[in-house]
């Protein structure tokens, strides 16, 4: 923050980087800040150098950034999420390491690795990144990749809009990343509650970084929800009526509907805070008729459904993998559908439990407390359904199953601590303590992270044509389970002992053993992260042995396993006609699943376009310019976006036609290859014998 505002550079000046802080005063805190900025700079330079060295710029733009293929968009979402995950996990580790060294005295409370303000930025960016730029892109990416293939569709309903959504999310992530280098991030937590984040108490650029990142990526998420919902309603293959859809599609539908209805609330609360900050409005100020509780209400109208937006896709993944790796049909399909829908509805009725302690009447608190407890019922139904699916199944302890079993044990504990918090009188005791931190990590890490990693492991061969290493996959899973236990279980205890959350310091020496345990957990989480990236690397090196060109490595039952691995751009040579729930399984039971279509026709695919890239670039510049009050640049980028929209409207966009002969050639080559491969038995699933053609006599689903 600075007082000299220039018309050209706005509030930007050279005294705002972590390096200037470091030159100003050398402490562990400024060293860590400068180190993080250096990692970002070196990473960016390294990426540019690698792309140049390998001559990948052209393929990057031609095959990826301009692509409207939902599979590629999904993969790009997941790559973005993994990059952000690395930053989020490291930040979490720094916080745990800080608190293990933060025992202060009343006379001098400031101790530990980082300064209090730095700590506040850490928990704010950590929360923002993990929710909006790790969990959301992971699940949206996975849905993008899987959904059209499971529905028997070629692509999303709006492929180019899909590209725009990805671009908006990436622009928001870019703003968060650049805040590491230029200026500071807000210190208001991931929720950025006013009046603290109003202009009066947070005059700097930090809250604006958050606001613009959230607004821009939020628009992307709203459009994604729209795209998913329309795809599911209108693009299902003939014969796939709703009760024949795989469970993952069902949870995607729930997520889509929730995105459509929940994201606007976040847009509104952010816009209002923005108007307060930029134009002196009085929505949430202490003076002139402002009402900060209105922010809490609107924010959590988005925020609570968001929790279930995050978790439902993982529930979809667990439904798929519990059935596949047990060799059994999914138990209680209908009840799982009803439970998913119930969860999405009830999740909109519980938001007030986020501020039980902020002065609502007892009757209001009780109503929301009961609503919160009710949501445990459909969730419990689901857990029992998955366990019943596995009951007497021929279970293979593959990586996704390790995640599922970890989820069973940990998520139930997290759910139970949630029911405890749903009781307003108990909530008054533990609300602002680390008990709460333990609770939500206890549901989100097993519920979202494990689910998404299991899903990535499960569908990875479909995306890249080779399996991930099971050995390293399982090691990663065990490390994430162990890391979670050590990091967060002590926080329950600390919370009950009275350790407040978000506090950079404490004076009670009895906290120390628990702090050390949690910091050790942080080390395990770091190891898990490293092991995750090592899994990708080592699997890539062994891609010859792990290749599964047959495309069905797990003896699956849903449509996506009928295509080659990696799947062709058009997914299916002909749109399948669906006759049963789990149609690919039905084809296996009938005995000849790999029969080709009788005739081939031309396929229309959306043409590549720079539209999304231009909009995303302009949106990023808009956010940056507004954060730093560089008005001319903001106007220029806004005009660029309008111009791009007009240009796109005027253009007649012709689809790309894949001729029938090319489809036929590719499809016949695939079917000949399948016929030439030896089917792998279930016991050979993890060996090089598994070429993606399973022994269908073993299919029991």
């Amino acid at each position: 923050m600075t007082e000299h505002t220039s018309p050209i550079f706005g509030n930007l000046n050279w005294n705002i980087t972590p390096y200037t802080d470091l030159l100003d005063k050398v402490t562990t805190s400024t060293i860590i800040g400068a180190g993080a900025a250096t990692v970002l700079v070196v990473g960016a330079i390294g990426a540019v150098a690698l792309l140049t060295w390998m001559r990948w710029w052209k393929p990057l733009f031609r095959d990826w950034l301009t692509s409207a293929d939902a599979k590629k968009i999904g993969i790009m979402y997941i790559v973005l999420a993994l990059v952000m995950l690395a930053r989020g996990v490291i930040e979490g580790f720094v916080m745990r390491a800080h608190q293990a060294t933060a025992l202060g005295t009343l006379a001098s409370p400031e101790s530990g690795l980082v300064a209090p303000d730095h700590f506040a930025q850490l928990f704010s960016t950590h929360g923002t990144i993990m929710i909006f730029f790790v969990a959301m892109p992971l699940l949206i990416g996975l849905i993008n990749f899987v959904l059209p293939q499971q529905l028997g569709a070629r692509d999303m309903a709006f492929p180019v809009l899909n590209q725009v959504s990805l671009g908006m999310t990436a622009a928001g992530a870019g703003l968060i990343m650049i805040s590491l280098l230029v200026g500071q991030f807000g210190t208001g937590g991931w929720t950025m509650y006013p009046p603290y984040t109003g202009k009066e108490y947070s005059p700097g650029e930090g809250v604006d970084y958050w606001l613009w990142a959230i607004m821009i990526s939020g628009i992307g998420s709203t459009l994604t929800g729209l795209n998913f919902a329309v795809t599911i309603f209108k693009k299902r293959a003939p014969g796939m009526h709703f009760m024949r859809m795989p469970l993952f599609c069902w949870t995607s539908l729930c997520v889509a509907i929730m995105l459509i209805y929940a994201m606007p609330a976040l847009t509104v609360s952010s816009t209002m805070l923005l108007l307060d900050r930029y134009a002196d409005f009085h929505f949430f100020t202490n003076t002139a008729g402002g009402n900060m509780m209105n922010y809490a209400n609107i924010f959590w109208m988005f925020g609570h459904p968001e929790v279930y937006i995050l978790i439902l896709p993982a529930f979809g993944v667990f439904s798929e993998i519990s059935s596949t790796f047990s060799g059994k049909r999914l138990y209680g399909y209908t009840s799982l559908v009803i439970a998913s829908m119930s969860i999405s509805v009830i999740s909109f009725t519980v938001w007030l439990h986020h501020f039980f302690t902020m002065g609502s009447s007892a009757s209001v608190n009780i109503a929301f407390g009961i609503a919160t407890m009710i949501i445990g019922i459909p969730t419990g139904v689901k857990v029992y359904d998955w366990m019943a699916t596995m009951w007497r199944g021929r279970i293979r302890i593959t990586t996704p199953i390790v995640y599922l079993v970890g989820f069973f044990m940990l998520f139930v504990i997290g759910g139970l601590s949630g029911i405890i918090l749903a009781n307003p009188s108990i909530d008054y005791q533990v609300h602002n303590s680390t008990f709460l931190v333990a609770h939500f990590h206890n549901v989100i890490i097993p519920g979202v992270l494990y689910g998404m990693l299991a899903g990535i492991h499960y569908w990875f061969p479909k995306a890249f044509g080779f399996r991930l290493s099971e050995t390293w996959g399982r090691r990663t899973a065990y490390l994430f389970v162990g890391g979670f236990l050590f990091t967060f279980m002590p926080l329950y205890v600390l919370g009950l002992m009275g350790m407040p959350r978000r506090s950079p310091t404490f004076q009670n020496p009895e906290f120390m053993p628990w702090m050390y345990l949690a910091a050790f957990g942080g080390v395990l989480m770091l190891a898990a992260l490293a092991s995750l990236f090592w899994t990708f690397w080592t699997s890539w090196r062994n891609r010859e042995q792990l290749a599964v060109p047959g495309g069905d490595p797990w003896n699956g039952a849903t449509l996506e396993w009928s295509s080659p691995a990696p799947a062709p751009e058009w997914n299916f040579p002909r749109i399948p006609v669906v006759t049963a729930r789990d149609d690919w399984g039905a084809a296996k039971r009938a005995g000849d699943p790999w029969k080709g279509p009788d005739e081939y026709v031309d396929i229309e695919m959306p043409a590549n376009t720079y539209f999304g890239v231009i909009l995303a670039g302009a949106a990023f510049i808009l956010g940056f310019a507004m954060t730093w009050h560089i008005w001319w640049l903001a106007i220029a980028s806004l005009l660029t976006m309008f111009a791009a929209l007009f240009w796109r409207g005027m253009k007649v966009v012709e689809p790309v036609i894949v001729p029938a002969e090319e489809v036929e050639r590719a499809d016949k080559a695939f079917r000949e290859q399948v016929a030439g491969l030896t089917p792998a038995r279930r016991t050979e699933e993890e060996t090089a014998q598994n070429k993606g053609v399973p022994d269908i006599t073993e299919f029991a689903g």
Partner: protein, 207 residues
């Protein structure tokens, strides 16, 4: 209708690919507006929450600021703009030709512009009376809700201009017809929101 396709578009034979695409696009437009409706819904609720002495915070209130005559004129212009868009839809449906479509589009845009003109002059006179959004929480809510609707109408007018440009270069091809249909849904949606604003923002506090 019975085949589930979107009516009134005149895209040629039924059950063609163009019809299926139209159905998806117009449905997508509806879903988007449902999402937009949530934004307006929350702003309505916010307006209601600030319509009390605390929210007014001693600033000017509805009795001093609102000119119901001007609001009535705005209502008339906007709703007539909706009727005029009916001309666009019918002309497309019955193959009335590009010129007639453009004529109806221009009439709709002019009525919309008249609405915006009266609205902006209301805003200016309210600001002169001290009714600026910085004056109180209630005024912040009022300007945001009504201003957002006005912004939507302005975007609608820009969209009409874009469609006229598209008709003049591309002619009435299937894509343009579908976009006209989507614009119609948007344009009528603004009437719907305005009915809410007219009743809830203006009539309720004045009653």
């Amino acid at each position: 209708m019975s085949n589930g396709l979107y009516p009134g578009l005149n895209l040629g034979d039924h059950e063609t690919e163009a019809n299926e695409k139209a159905e998806i696009n117009v449905f997508g437009c509806w879903v988007f507006l449902m999402s937009d409706l949530i934004i307006f819904g929350i702003l309505f609720a916010t307006y209601a929450a600030y319509l009390n002495p605390v929210g007014l915070a001693g600033g000017p209130g509805p009795q001093e600021l609102f000119d119901i005559k001007s609001v009535a004129i705005q209502t008339g212009l906007l709703l007539l703009g909706g009727v005029a868009y009916g001309g666009v839809s019918l002309t497309v449906k019955y193959d009335g030709g590009a010129n007639k479509v453009v004529l109806w589009l221009v009439i709709s845009a002019l009525l919309g512009a008249g609405f915006v003109f009266f609205e902006v002059s209301d805003f200016i006179s309210q600001a002169q009376m001290g009714g600026i959004p910085q004056a109180s929480g209630w005024l912040s809510a009022y300007w945001t809700l009504v201003g957002l609707h006005g912004l939507h109408v302005s975007v609608g007018i820009l969209w009409i201009a874009a469609m006229i440009a598209q008709i003049s270069t591309r002619g009435l091809d299937n894509t343009v017809k579908v976009r006209l249909s989507m614009l119609g849904v948007f344009w009528h949606f603004l009437d719907l929101i305005w009915v809410g604003i007219f009743s809830f923002v203006f009539l309720v506090p004045l009653a």
